[in-house]
């Protein structure tokens, strides 16, 4: 159990800088998820925290102690790898005991700890098997067990669920959340899957191209993304982002022109840029009566999931729009669909990226 602090940590491979000055504070007992597209540097950041990769500059502090030059084996952290990295020549028991044997722990104590972890992870019947005789989910649990027995200061997870099938991933996700509730340890979890991030995290750190874009609680990120990248990355399906032309309407606010469509409402901003990006999430678009529609779109195709329905619609001059509706909708391809945006759920972004205003819409 420990807290962790990163101060302006950078990493370069040769001339290529992959982490640009990361600052992050993680409190004791917190579950923090690092999320971002592949190649954004999240795994590199985790490996630097673990001590498997030296930081180029900056400070990594665990419990107020700078650990930049402390080797991985002495940092007291435990890591769960994407490939599980179980020792194929050792039994499940040996795999879990290996880390303890290296600390010259008493045999009886090792046995007790491994026994407890195995019970917690339902591995008791498999302790004498080799990893190759286990299923993917069991291997994953062994890898987690190997971390648990060590009672580490911080747990590090490097995309631990990405090798599992969809169903197993959901159940392992629940187990991980339960585990965190049980153990209460500090956990840092890397994933590219924003659903995992949303469901597991106390706080999410969104990374893109080696930069921390935003840090915040899952709903905070969802409701108040600080830029277009976070807005597009968090939430599934993605937020609709349309580049709009603006037209000042004096005190009445700003009118927006999306493609060839003039939107029949105004937004309020202190400064009026020529162009801006309007963001609206799929669930904040309603199918309206043709009378009060903002836009009329043509359904390109629809996904009927029973409980909910997604429409992918085309509008002249705009990228494809995703619309989310609850329930089952008898709407077919090629049908014209009048759409209305929820006024109080609009996000406005600068064309360059940063947010201008959340909940920007106003009444007509």
């Amino acid at each position: 159990m420990a807290d962790l602090e990163l101060q302006n940590v950078t990493k370069s491979f040769g001339d290529v800088r992959v982490i640009h000055g990361a600052d992050l504070k993680i409190a004791d007992g917190e579950f923090v998820v690092l999320v971002g597209p592949s190649g954004c540097g999240k795994s590199t950041l985790l490996r630097m925290i673990a001590g498997l990769e030296p930081a180029t500059s900056g400070d990594i502090r665990i419990d107020d102690e700078t650990v930049n030059h402390v080797p991985a084996s002495d940092r007291g952290l435990a890591m769960v790898f994407q490939s599980y990295a179980l020792y194929p020549h050792m039994s499940v028991y040996k795999n879990m005991a290996f880390g303890l044997e290296n600390t010259r722990m008493d045999r009886a104590e090792i046995k007790r700890r491994v026994g407890n972890a195995a019970e917690m992870l339902r591995l008791t019947d498999y302790l004498h098997r080799r990893p190759k005789a286990l299923s993917g989910g069991q291997r994953q649990r062994v890898a987690i067990g190997r971390a648990i027995v060590r009672d580490p200061k911080i747990f590090l997870f490097d995309e631990p669920l990405s090798n599992l099938d969809a169903e197993l991933r959901v159940s392992m996700r629940k187990e991980l959340a339960a585990l965190h509730a049980d153990l209460g340890g500090t956990m840092i979890y890397v994933t590219h899957d924003q659903v995992e991030a949303m469901t597991l995290a106390d706080r999410i750190v969104v990374l893109n191209e080696g930069r921390i874009e935003q840090i915040g609680s899952p709903l905070d990120l969802y409701n108040r993304p600080v830029n277009q990248f976070v807005a597009g990355f968090i939430g599934s399906p993605r937020m609709n982002l349309w580049e709009c032309r603006t037209e000042s309407n004096g005190d009445a606010g700003i009118r927006l022109h999306a493609g060839s469509n003039a939107l029949p409402f105004t937004v309020e901003l202190d400064q009026v840029p020529d162009r801006l990006v309007l963001g609206v999430r799929p669930e904040n678009i309603e199918v309206a009566d043709s009378g009060d529609a903002d836009l009329v779109a043509t359904v390109a195709f629809s996904e009927q999931l029973g409980g909910e329905t997604y429409f992918y619609c085309d509008i002249d001059g705009l990228p494809q729009i995703t619309v989310h509706q609850l329930g089952q909708r008898p709407i077919t391809r090629g049908q014209a669909l009048p759409l209305r945006l929820q006024r109080d759920q609009l996000h406005l972004f600068d064309v360059a990226g940063p947010v201008l205003k959340h909940r920007a819409g106003s009444a007509e």
Partner: protein, 351 residues
């Protein structure tokens, strides 16, 4: 069990018909067996031939001995020949003596009648007979078991040391990243191009200075570091997933325990291959032991064999027989290790 072996050996592409590829495969495999196994069979058969039979031309395939017959009136058994008589009939006669191109012969059934036969018209009557004395005689005179012991000590000792230090070098060159790693490997591989004859004298001087002449250490140590072994093991260790090494580091493993408890067990298949090579090299090594070992009691088997090769005369029958004896232990080791390799490869597979 037998039926399983039979179905394994007589496997075909289809269950019923013989496909042309079956024929092709069998022809090819038999050719391979004849090519590789033929010389060994020839060696073993020849080792059972008498000295005279070895000199014979054309040579016979099987070890044969001439049949002798007891004939009344003669103390010693006489060799039997089948003789084609002037009238074309063939008779089996025993030879009493040979004078020039004529042989004086006698019919064992009728010992009174003596015949003069030209030697061109007779063929020795022979049967399959093993010259066991090729084996028993040298095993009594030749200190086979002492040589065997020396050879085993050299082979086992050198193989263990080779595996240890080669794997350590390979570990360093594969797991650690440092400047000049490839250059170092290049140097090591480069030494492959230096033949032993070139470094024979300097190495001998070193060994002499260290007082290892006429000691088995003098044979074991100089060849223990092999570039082939380092290269083989390094290439194998490169295939061990990096995550495993990282996982061991996170598990607080010391570098030694990463080497000994993670990398070595996972390199078993490569180690087994190198062990086989090393056993083969050391067992058959001749030139270097010949230089370092001069006293009979420290001779290895290969040097012992050399004793049958005089300057003027080579006792081929003994050389061949003892060659077969020296082959046996390695063959047994091979048969054992080969099984080990296949299981090693099968069990180290990481998904």
């Amino acid at each position: 069990m037998m039926s399983r072996i039979a179905s394994f050996v007589l496997r075909r592409r289809n269950r019923r018909k013989l496909h042309w590829t079956d024929v092709f495969t069998y022809v090819y495999l038999f050719l391979g067996v004849a090519l590789m196994f033929g010389p060994v069979v020839w060696l073993v058969l020849s080792s059972f031939k008498t000295q005279a039979a070895l000199q014979e031309f054309p040579p016979t395939f099987l070890p044969l001995g001439q049949i002798s017959a007891e004939v009344d009136g003669f103390e010693d058994p006489l060799p039997l020949y089948s003789v084609t008589m002037a009238d074309g009939t063939v008779r089996e006669l025993a030879q009493i003596r040979r004078i020039g191109i004529m042989a004086q012969m006698v019919d064992p059934a009728n010992p009174q009648e003596k015949l003069q036969i030209p030697i061109a018209g007779r063929e020795p009557v022979r049967e399959f007979r093993l010259a066991i004395e090729n084996y028993t005689k040298p095993l009594q005179q030749f200190s086979f078991f002492r040589f065997l012991r020396n050879s085993v000590v050299v082979t086992v000792g050198a193989t263990i040391i080779t595996l240890l230090i080669n794997s350590m070098a390979a570990f360093g060159l594969s797991i650690y990243e440092f400047r000049g790693r490839n250059l170092t490997l290049g140097f090591i591989i480069g030494t492959l191009m230096i033949p032993i004859t070139v470094i024979l004298v300097p190495v001998f001087l070193v060994v002499t200075e260290l007082g290892m002449v006429n000691s088995l250490w003098g044979v074991i140590l100089p060849g223990a570091a092999t570039p082939t072994g380092v290269f083989l093991l390094r290439q194998y260790m490169l295939t061990i997933p990096r995550d495993l090494i990282d996982a061991a580091r996170m598990d607080k493993a010391s570098e030694w325990s990463i080497y000994w408890r993670v990398v070595m067990p996972l390199s078993m298949p490569a180690l087994a291959v190198l062990a086989i090579f090393s056993v083969m090299w050391r067992w058959n090594e001749f030139l270097w032991p010949l230089v370092v070992l001069t006293r009979n009691e420290v001779y290895t088997l290969q040097l012992g064999l050399n004793a049958f090769q005089g300057e003027l005369q080579v006792q081929w029958h003994f050389v061949l027989a003892m060659t077969v004896v020296t082959l046996l232990p390695v063959t047994i080791v091979f048969a054992f290790l080969q099984r080990f390799i296949t299981t090693g490869i099968a069990s180290s597979g990481m998904k």
